[in-house]
Amino acid sequence: MKKYTYTDKKDTRSGFGDGLLEAGKRNPEVVALCADLIGSLKMNDFIKAFPERFFQVGIAEANMIGIAAGLATSGKIPFTGTFANFSTGRVYDQIRQSVAYSDKNVKICASHAGLTLGEDGATHQILEDIGMMKMLPGMTVINPCDYNQTKAATIAIAEHHGPVYLRFGRPVVPIFTDPDQKFEIGKAWMVNEGADVSIFATGHLVWEAIQAGEILAEEGIDAEIINIHTIKPLDAEAVLKSVAKTGCVVTAEEHNRLGGLGDSIAQLLAVNNPTPQEFVAVNDSFGESGTPAQLMTKYGLDAVNIVKAVKKVIARKKQNA
């Protein structure tokens, strides 16, 4: 197992804020909008640097998406910022008609995704957003795993033409990816090569997958760990290549098991290479209040549960053999 360590922890939303500032410096067409959550979205540095290119829309997310579509019509590259719930479920039809169906170059940037926003509870913990966004034709869906990757992804989506949903989170988490990485949309990242099982993880679950990989290694299980930061378009080649080698799959995500990364992988495999698969995801329920760590444990989204899923799927593979 390749060794991953970290010296610093940061929230992925800070990666977004720093990436937005950098994207703004690189391209004068980049503009930003926020619905009364500037501090939470870490947009202050962009606003300070480019006050005329920022629009505070107030608590009016539908209007924000529409204004972004209008700005994009006239050649701007708008980044909208609010919590993941208010970025998706609240404005699904606005995104569908004014952005996706209208082919607008809008970047929908969503913080506080999943359970790990913690104490605010289920009204704010959306676990369905990946599903909603990946169902929209033409929408790119990205869920980076740490500060560095989120920053790189933010810069990359400014250079990509087309609507994007960028999902990140609130808690401070280990920084373990390369600070100078070039983020390639739709290109999976090989975290660890292995032979016994393929673990496909996204977002905060990538670090948990690495922890799980270390536990498994001690028990003699050689796990391949792949970071699927881009859920759509899915890197089908990387998934199929890995599965051809390992013959069993665990997917790990901070999302409902319905509609998330696991679904995308299962659909790909069902058509191309039917394979035993276990899902580390929220089991079709809402979240609740608690600390992020408590919630990830209670809802089974941690290294311990990834290890359990791996053992289960390897047993299924052996049964089939």
């Binding site: 009016a60 209008g70 019509t73 039809d93 008609q97």
Partner: protein, 281 residues
């Protein structure tokens, strides 16, 4: 571009013929609002806006128009065709399979002249505001126009946008409300009253103008007046009184022709009332 009222009326008559023929041909679509807004859209595209039918999505240096009440696509398509955005013959494909003229307007099929999809109501004012903000950022002094149904104003997003535009002094924007008092289920006053619409917009901080939407001279006049009100720190809205179904006697003044196509006999009655001025497509 023409300011000649009789020329504009000729175009409007042909557009109305196109509308009833289009909805008749596919036996679906929305003739009522289309006929009511014909004079407005003809005035906008032939007397008011600076625009280039060699369509460019960004429209820098041009006036832009966004149709928010997308169901009146027949009038929009006919006006775009007569203005030279695409061949009039294509109007025959309206709502048919493999057509660029979808039931509701979309950019998705690449039809020149359409800058946003609309149909799901209440979204176009926000989009128009975004385009107006982009013009300001670009130092482009041309204007942004939009059209909304009055029933559409029941959507909450409209009022989010209505609050934003005055706060941010979006004064290069002229929104028009097709104030015909009708919606699918009946008169707006019965379905959900709009109340004092002028007072509502004024309270939100808009410069509110009122006009007669089916008298070509008055339509041109109110649009010119609206233009003279831009650049003064406030967005402008025109409450344009129209008659649903205007120009075809049996379709006028009722919500019943909101989304119903005429049969063969009704088509002939309608066409007898609308002079063929520029040749049918």
């Amino acid at each position: 571009m023409t300011q000649d009222i009789s020329e504009l009326k000729k175009i409007a008559s042909q557009v109305r013929r196109d509308i009833v023929r289009m909805v008749h041909a596919c036996q679906s679509g929305h003739p009522g609002g289309s006929l009511g807004c014909t004079d407005f859209l003809v005035a906008l595209y032939f007397a008011i806006m600076k625009h280039d039918p060699k369509f460019n999505m960004e429209g820098k240096g041009e006036d832009l128009f966004f149709l928010s009440n997308g169901h009146i696509s027949p009038v929009f398509y006919s006006v775009l065709a007569h203005a030279g955005y695409f061949d009039k013959a294509e109007l025959a494909t309206f709502r048919k399979i493999n057509s660029r003229l979808q039931g509701h307007p979309t950019t998705h099929e690449g039809l020149p002249g359409v800058r946003i999809a609309s149909g799901s109501l209440g979204q176009g004012m926000s989009v128009a505001i975004g385009a107006a903000l982009a013009k300001k950022l670009n130092g482009d002094d041309r204007l942004v126009f939009s059209l909304h149904g009055d029933g559409e104003l029941q959507e909450g997003q409209i009022w989010e946008a209505a609050m934003f535009a005055p706060h941010n002094k979006v004064d290069n924007l002229i929104c028009t409300v097709d104030y015909n008092g009708q919606q699918i289920d009946g008169p707006t006053e019965m379905v959900l009253s709009l109340g004092d619409l002028k007072g509502k917009f004024e309270a939100f901080g808009w410069d509110v103008l009122e006009g007669d939407g089916n008298d070509m001279e008055k339509v041109v006049a109110v649009l010119q007046k609206a233009i003279s009100h831009t650049g003064k720190g406030k967005p402008v809205v025109i409450l344009l009184k129209t008659g649903m179904g205007y120009g075809v006697d049996f379709m006028m003044g009722s919500h019943k022709w909101h989304g119903v196509a005429p049969n063969d006999e009704q088509l002939n009655v309608a066409l007898a009332q609308l002079e063929e001025t520029l040749g049918d497509y």
